[in-house]
């Protein structure tokens, strides 16, 4: 822990402050503001193209916003990137990795880059590979380039966890991950928040978000439509999915539509 930083619990672990980004003509994020208290897990949900990836990228320093700010434990990501990134673990969606390394080599490289002591990197890497069930591939010398989509997610997650950050930002961590590994992932995230860590995940799967997270934000067309604890957001609705559909707007399939499907 950094003693110089304000460690009072009223500083949000992650704060997005009116982040805005326009791609060509589309407003991918339009004043996105969120505050994630410490020790909680936030689920960011929204339809395809809502701006989840864009907002999270701006929050962690991967994409410079047109305007707005982002803070990790009170440290501004864009004015003090080094300070903010030390406490941050990130899993982006669909990006490449150093493809010609094995998972073990990648984690070794990552540990050195992050200034971890070698022995520590070694033990953590071994444990992570084992828990995430990548140890067999590692023994066979499989390169990341040869990994399946789910395996890529898992090694990405391992890089996010290796330096034991305080805040985790994961873009669609459950996508393409098999049910057994999904349970492992859930257990990891639970343990992480129990230890005082903070997690932000994005997802399309309402049921998952509902059973996993304490807080939810619904985002569509680059704007935050609802934000708060699970029960606050849900209000009188029976499920989160109902709230989502109510806010985002349902596209009902009427009797006459797509009739040709039955022919």
């Amino acid at each position: 822990m950094e003693s110089a930083e304000p460690s009072t619990s009223d500083v949000a672990a992650l704060e997005l402050d009116a982040l805005t980004k326009t791609f060509n003509e589309t407003r991918a994020a339009d004043g996105v503001s969120l505050a994630v208290p410490r020790g909680t897990m936030l689920g960011l949900v929204g339809p395809n193209g809502a701006g989840k990836t864009t907002s999270l990228s701006m929050a962690v320093g991967l994409l410079r916003p047109d305007s707005g700010a982002a803070r990790v434990l009170g440290v501004d990501v864009w004015t003090d990137p080094v300070g903010a990134k030390r406490n941050l673990g990130v899993l982006p969606d669909g990006l490449s990795l150093p493809e010609r390394l094995t998972a073990g080599e990648l984690l070794d490289h990552w540990g050195r880059l992050r200034g971890l002591e070698r022995g520590l990197t070694r033990t953590r890497a071994r444990e992570l590979l084992q828990v995430l069930e990548l140890d067999r591939a590692e023994r066979d010398g499989v390169l990341v380039a040869e990994y399946s989509t789910g395996m890529r997610k898992k090694i990405g997650l391992a890089t996010a966890l290796l330096h034991a950050p305080e805040v985790l930002v994961l873009d669609e961590p459950y996508e393409a991950v098999d049910p057994v590994s999904a349970r492992v992932l859930t257990a990891i995230l639970r343990r992480f928040t129990d230890g005082g860590g903070t997690v932000v995940i994005s997802s399309h799967v309402m049921a998952l978000v509902e059973q996993l997270t304490d807080r939810v934000s619904i985002i569509a067309d680059g704007r935050v439509l609802a934000d708060g604890t699970l029960s606050e957001v849900r209000g009188t609705d029976a499920t989160l999915e109902d709230t989502f559909v109510r806010l985002v707007g349902a596209r009902e399939v009427g009797e006459g539509d797509l009739a040709w499907l039955n022919s």
């Binding site: 990134k85 010609r100 390394l101 010398g141 390169l143 040869e146």
Partner: protein, 552 residues
């Protein structure tokens, strides 16, 4: 389906840069005019026959090199169609048909028609034979070009294939740089080409090439031996059919996955193994280790490295063949120069993997990232280049060249290393993202980088080169070696420093360039003015082709 594919091809063609296209048009028209000039101006039937063989071989050669050199932009790739419920082999043949649409094939047809002219002038009765030959020639040349292009792509799945592709590239590059050395004496020796045509070895080599067979068929028929004529043409037709079928198969979308099952540890896992690691436990050590492994294991990077070495080797051999042996000792120097170009888009090579550098940013990591890459390419190129030159000097006994070669190696390795790191940052051009690569040129386009290298390396090495010339005249060539050291090393250091400072100040912008493509990257730069680096970046954005489909 074929019509649809053709329309798609034209749509893609429209997005190709007009500069490249005009150059292509110019070359095609010029080549066609020259072919006809040779055919019409030839003094006799025999001379016309030998000149036609040369022209047709050059046309087929251009088809082999063309798509690779122009980066395959505007080419319909079979992967675009993997998911369509169409018969794979029919898509393959359909794609092949699209290759015959366009200006290139038309001009090839017009040029090949010179064969019909040859037949008509020699003996009007052989005209139909000539016409058949013309059509077969066009089909053969175009399909052969596709075969080689796809062959290169398919090759990237195996080490042997990569080696072959590197050889091919090495030849291409050597030819581009020093082809004239070999061609010029041939022309000089043969005197007036249209008067006497080719004689000696060149003629007998030419006669063996398949593209010469239709010419031989016409000649045989003129001489009255019709059975020989049909044999030549039949053999050529058969070869063409085989080429078309193989190409059609190769063009069929492939659905196989990469790297199924692995038996041995990947290359370099032992050498750098943790316990006895040679590398320090720092960010710099981390980057050097990662880079060396990537250069050893990644076929696309291997291609850059190997083809540089082969190109150096071939340039040396070309010098030998062309009776210009003074070139030989400099084989390693050329290898070092070309390797600099191969390293001029390292961040483009890595694609969106740059996110790790962004997320893991710490006080010293950006500097380490650039310096580590510089160290890795220096370690990879300096020893083999030196070895290549040393071997060439010993083999040819040209020990006079030692100080010259040493000075050139030192200064060019340093300058091009520094420039490579700077261009990698400033003019970064993404290709297909690494885990989706298939073809040999799926890494980013590097036109701008290559041109800048060609101009800037001699410029920044000019102190050494000047002293080298002066020293040679004064009879003290060794004086250039220390000068080269004080020229090359600071150049590498300074340019690398500019590179990591630039990367540090534009880290997310660089990732955006790779991740979201040039349209969105352009918005992070002012439209005019700015420093030299901004201008460079804008130049690359405006010139280098975008191979990658944009999207997040």
């Amino acid at each position: 389906m074929v019509e649809l594919l053709i329309r798609l091809k034209f749509t893609l063609g429209r997005h190709t840069r007009s500069g490249t296209r005009w150059l292509t048009v110019l070359l095609l028209v010029g080549g066609t005019a020259f072919t006809w000039f040779l055919a019409v101006a030839a003094a006799s039937d025999a001379v016309r026959s030998s000149l036609l063989m040369l022209a047709l071989a050059v046309w087929a050669g251009s088809w082999i090199l063309g798509p690779t050199v122009t980066n395959g932009v505007g080419v319909l790739r079979s992967q675009y169609f993997t998911l369509l419920p169409l018969d794979r082999n029919r898509v393959g043949l359909g794609l092949l048909v699209t290759m015959f649409v366009g200006f290139g094939p038309v001009m090839t047809l017009v040029s090949a028609a010179a064969l019909a002219w040859h037949a008509y002038v020699s003996d009007p009765a052989t005209l139909f034979l000539g016409l058949l030959g013309v059509l077969t020639l066009v089909v053969f040349s175009v399909s052969l070009g596709r075969l080689v292009f796809r062959g290169l792509g398919a090759a990237m799945h195996s080490r042997l294939g990569m080696e072959i592709a590197s050889l091919q590239w090495g030849l291409i590059v050597a030819g581009l740089f020093f082809g004239w050395v070999a061609v010029q004496p041939a022309f000089v020796a043969s005197g007036n080409l249209t008067e006497r045509g080719f004689e000696g070895t060149a003629a007998s080599v030419l006669a063996v090439l398949p593209t010469s067979w239709p010419v031989l068929a016409v000649d045989a028929a003129t001489a009255g031996s019709w059975s020989a004529a049909f044999a030549w043409l039949g053999a050529f037709a058969l070869l063409t059919v085989v080429t078309v079928l193989v190409t059609g198969r190769l063009l069929a979308p492939s659905v196989s996955t990469r790297g199924v099952g692995r038996r041995s540890r990947p290359l370099g896992s032992r050498v750098l193994e943790d316990r006895r690691s040679l590398l320090p436990d720092t960010p710099l050590g981390a980057v050097v280790g990662k880079e060396l492994r990537s250069w050893w294991r990644d076929p696309w990077r291997g291609l850059e490295l190997r083809s540089a070495l082969y190109a150096g080797l071939f340039i040396g051999l070309l010098g030998l063949v062309a009776d210009f042996p003074q070139v030989m000792p400099f084989a390693g120097v050329f290898a070092a120069l070309i390797m600099g170009m191969g390293g001029s888009n390292m961040y483009g090579h890595d694609g969106t993997a740059l996110w790790l550098t962004v997320v893991g940013q710490d006080r010293d990591t950006i500097r380490a990232d650039v310096r580590g890459r510089q160290i890795a390419i220096a370690v990879l190129i300096a020893p083999p280049a030196t070895l290549l030159s040393a071997a060439a000097i010993v083999a040819s006994g040209q020990y006079w060249a030692v100080p010259h070669v040493l000075a050139c190696l030192l200064v060019f390795t340093g300058v091009s290393n520094g420039l490579a790191s700077l261009l990698s940052v400033v003019t970064v051009t993404p290709g297909v993202d690494p885990h989706k690569r298939v073809d040999a040129n799926d890494t980013g386009d590097v036109q701008v980088q290559v041109w800048i290298m060609l101009l800037a390396v001699p410029l920044l090495s000019s102190p050494t080169l000047a002293v080298l010339v002066w020293g040679a005249i004064q009879g003290i060539p060794w004086i250039a070696v220390p000068v080269a050291l004080f020229n090359g090393v600071p150049a590498a250091w300074l340019l690398g420093r500019v590179a990591h400072r630039r990367l540090e100040s534009r880290l997310p912008e660089t990732l955006t360039r790779i991740r979201y493509g040039k349209e969105i990257a352009r918005r992070s730069l002012s439209t005019a003015g700015g420093g030299l680096l901004d201008r460079l970046e804008r130049g690359a954005l405006a010139t280098n082709e975008e191979i990658k489909p944009t999207g997040s």
